[in-house]
């Protein structure tokens, strides 16, 4: 069974530029999550989708971050414009159903903002 796929694996941009990350969850997984993991910290949930609808985006900085999952499968997370403090690993995870306790994580995208 293929795992959660993410791209790119690494991205370096300058502050005020825009960046987008892509995630393809495990086939059949209805719930998709985006996490931000700053160096030395645990992952922090940014947004949770159930199919193509947003379940929780309370910790998403909506002035600069946006995410979508238009067809209920792939998802993109965008930052526009980026700030230095956005440097982190962005992890995507998926679970089979909304109340599944087991989330499977992708390899992440390491973003460096200069």
């Amino acid at each position: 069974e293929a795992g959660v796929a993410q791209s790119p694996r690494y991205k370096i941009i300058e502050k005020r530029q825009s960046v987008a990350f892509w995630c393809n969850p495990i086939s059949g997984h209805a719930t998709l999550y985006w996490y931000q993991q700053i160096l030395g910290q645990g992952p922090k949930l940014l947004i949770q989708f159930q199919n193509n609808g947003v379940v929780d985006d309370s910790q998403l900085p909506k002035d600069r971050f946006s995410a979508e999952r238009l067809k209920g499968v792939d998802s993109t997370l965008k930052i526009q414009p980026a700030k230095l403090e956005d440097s982190a690993v962005y992890l995507c995870a998926s679970s089979l159903v909304r109340h599944s306790d087991t989330q499977y994580f992708g390899p992440g995208t390491r973003l460096t903002v200069l």
């Binding site: 645990g42 992952p43 922090k44 949930l45 690993v89 992890l91 909304r98 087991t102 390899p107």
Partner: protein, 112 residues
Amino acid sequence: EDKVVQSPLSLVVHEGDTVTLNCSYEVTNFRSLLWYKQEKKAPTFLFMLTSSGIEKKSGRLSSILDKKELFSILNITATQTGDSAIYLCAVLPNNAGNMLTFGGGTRLMVKP
């Protein structure tokens, strides 16, 4: 606000040693506690604990939950260099969402 604190922050041991990692939590309406191992980037699932006093075991790893004292421990016996990783603890509340709150992790280094 849900809170998870892990200790120690980091740990260096030699192969063959036994280690105990700690996780304490505060969560409204607790549902489960999960342990993940993070090497490189992607956290990989280890255990899910929902009941007090029942040990979960997988090879050299084991974990137990104390819902009265609000903590969990992860034990690794006969450590190997391949156990070197960040170990993350997360809690899941019993609400409509599915929001995991992670601790800061314990970085374990096992030296040969």
